[in-house]
């Protein structure tokens, strides 16, 4: 079985302090692996625990510094690493199209992927679109919000426990599949120190993009800034029933709730 795990390197935003209206610059911020992608990799590795024949391949898109994220993936237990070379801003559509091209190239070299798994969203841009886009572009079934995945007695089925707003949903699916992983129901493993060393010496395969017109950004990044402070503060003094209606309408007017 082959599993491709898409891992993104994100900016570590925990020490980011922006004033209202202030523009974001990445200067001085550390980079780390998107935590949701670590869940994705951990989920893939639980399948490998069940079936040691499984080949887990990690894929990242970015410049050379992105390889740190692949090395972490290899340290945790991935077998192979690919970096799709890229620099500068790409919107989510372009990112997804390029990733899909890279997946085709990897599949040519390594065989078809039974599972492609990504984190449900990144912690920096937070769009949560890549898994859905991959599903559309590659015409494969998407299962989102996986908190647990495991092989069943049936070799052609995968059992997935989805995290839902009010609980969990357990379903079975045929391969091939695209999965987005959220916080898992089990812990993420610690890499072993010998694996860390091997990972730092491992070969990272480089894929050069062959961007078609479709795989170019159709949007332009102008600026990222913290939203300005709201100018009006409203205190609703009505009773619970009426007050809730007023608050709801205000939130709808501001496009925070759509229905």
């Amino acid at each position: 079985m082959n599993i491709i795990v898409c891992m993104k390197q994100v900016y570590d935003l925990k020490d980011l302090k922006l004033k209202a209206g202030e523009e974001f610059t990445p200067q001085g911020l550390d980079r780390r692996v998107n935590p949701f992608d670590v869940f994705a990799l951990e989920a893939a590795l639980t399948v490998k625990d069940q079936n040691p024949q499984t080949k887990v391949i990690v894929l990242s898109m970015g410049a050379e510094h992105t390889e740190k994220c692949l090395i972490e993936g290899l340290s945790m237990g991935a077998d192979k690493a690919y970096r799709l070379n890229s620099s500068g801003f790409l919107d989510t559509v372009a990112t997804s199209r390029r990733l899909a091209q890279a997946i085709h190239k990897i599949e040519k070299a390594e065989g078809m992927a039974d599972i492609i798994i990504t984190g449900i969203q990144s912690t920096d841009s937070g769009n949560g679109i890549v898994a859905c886009m991959l599903s559309r572009i590659l015409s494969r079934t998407l299962v989102s919000s996986a908190a647990e995945i495991s092989l069943t007695g049936n070799p052609s089925k995968l059992e997935i426990v989805k995290r839902c707003p009010d609980g969990f949903e357990k379903t079975e699916h045929d391969f091939p599949l695209i999965i987005s992983a959220t916080k898992l129901n089990h812990e993420v493993r610690y890499p072993s120190f010998p694996r860390i060393r091997q990972a730092n010496q491992a070969k990272i395969n480089i894929i050069e993009p062959s961007p078609s017109k479709k795989a170019m950004s159709s949007t332009e990044l102008i600026r990222i800034a913290k939203p300005g402070r709201r100018s009006r503060n409203v205190i609703v003094n009505d009773d619970v029933q009426a007050g809730t209606q007023i608050l709801l309408r205000m939130l709808q007017e501001d496009n925070i709730f759509t229905r």
Partner: protein, 380 residues
């Protein structure tokens, strides 16, 4: 000259840090009160290969360096100093005794490989009630009988003693010969006549299990003799040189842990209308402490580097041990002071760190013995 950690080292430091924060920190106060050693956590951390970091892979180690090991001990000790010493004794004193010995490779592998991934735990038996700083004054005796040795005597203050599957026991073949007859054996848990005595009730490092070990007609096969008569004292001293780097790393970690708690507290705690970090007297004190921590770090990292690079490290190790543990005592004491009344209360951690720091100035050679080691080389 390069002061930067490698990518690998940064990664392993991160793994140890996450383990300490996610696993050791919750429950560290309760464990200190109940003196219960977290065996499960010790074994879990072992799965990373941490306890075998400085040992070659052919002996079942993780194939890293002493510097790697120092980074790992430092990280766990920032949160739990007792875990730090159990780790350090397992690796540098038990594992070090095996690796430094002249035992055949097969024996080294047999007794080292099981501890490197935490499946088994090791301990080190040198100190006796009448032989502390004067390790040569011991009375445990091993007498040859056929292809076995029969050991009689008692050891004390054995860290990991009650938990250990394997203990290195240093003993004399003939008390009249003194250290000239000192040898060392690996004694397995459960060997008839080998029992755990009093388990100590301590001021600090309360979860570390420290006990007496009694040996009454304990028969050990000759192949488990890892230092032949006359080699034992040298093996113990060489092993303690490495152990001191481990204790130095533990002291550094304790100091850093307490410093960070104080620093964070001082930015939040307001008195006289402003955070106490704005009081220049206190801020300057913290500047001094941070400088001392940095100098301690340089010394222990350098001692580990010297060991890794095959240079003589006895004096650097003694200097690092003395400096780091004195800094640990000073920083933890000041951290309690910075937190005022809160610092004296258990939930703020620093009082525990202060109690843990005290022992680091005492074990693996008191800091007075470190001065003996340093001055001994100075006026040869």
């Amino acid at each position: 000259m390069n002061f930067e950690l490698t990518q690998e080292q940064l990664q392993l430091q991160q793994v140890a840090r996450e383990f300490a924060q996610n696993k050791l920190l919750p429950g560290v106060i309760e464990r200190d009160e109940t003196s219960v050693f977290p065996v499960d956590l010790f074994k879990e951390f072992g799965k990373t290969g941490a306890y075998g970091l400085p040992f070659p892979e052919e002996f079942g180690g993780a194939g890293g360096s002493y510097m790697d090991y120092v980074l790992a001990v430092e990280e766990v000790s920032k949160v739990d100093g007792a875990f730090g010493i159990s780790y350090s004794v397992d690796t540098s004193l038990y594992g070090g005794s095996i690796m430094n010995s002249s035992a055949p490779d097969a024996i080294k592998k047999k007794f080292l490989a099981p501890i490197t991934y935490g499946e088994k735990i090791g301990s080190f038996g040198l100190t006796e009630h009448s032989a502390g700083s004067d390790a040569a004054g011991q009375t445990t005796v091993a007498v040859k009988k056929g292809d076995k040795y029969v050991i009689n005597g008692a050891k004390c203050f054995n860290t990991n003693g009650p938990l250990a599957d394997f203990t290195v026991i240093y003993s004399l073949t003939d008390p009249a010969l003194g250290t000239k007859g000192m040898c060392a054996f690996v004694v397995e848990k459960g060997t008839p006549g080998f029992t755990v005595g009093k388990i100590e009730n301590k001021m600090g490092i309360r979860t570390a299990q420290v006990s007496e070990l009694h040996l009454e007609n304990v028969e050990v096969p000759e192949e488990q003799m890892i230092a032949k008569p006359g080699e034992g004292f040298k093996l113990a001293m060489k092993t303690l040189d490495g152990g001191r780097i481990g204790v130095a790393a533990q002291g550094l970690g304790i100091a850093e842990g307490a410093f960070e708690i104080a620093r964070t507290y001082m930015m939040q705690r307001e008195q006289f209308g402003k955070p106490i970090a704005k009081q220049q007297y206190l801020a300057f004190k913290m500047a001094e402490l941070q400088t001392k921590i940095e100098s301690a770090r340089m010394m222990v990292y350098r001692a580990a580097w010297m060991k890794d690079n095959g240079k003589p490290y006895t004096v650097p190790a003694a200097m690092a041990k003395m400096t780091c543990t004195n800094v640990a005592m000073e920083v933890t004491t000041e951290a309690v002071q910075m937190l005022g009344g809160n610092g004296y209360m258990k939930e703020y951690h620093v009082e525990r760190m202060m109690r843990d720091a005290k022992i680091t100035q005492i074990y693996e050679g008191t800091n007075e013995i470190q001065k003996l080691v340093i001055s001994g080389q100075l006026f040869r």
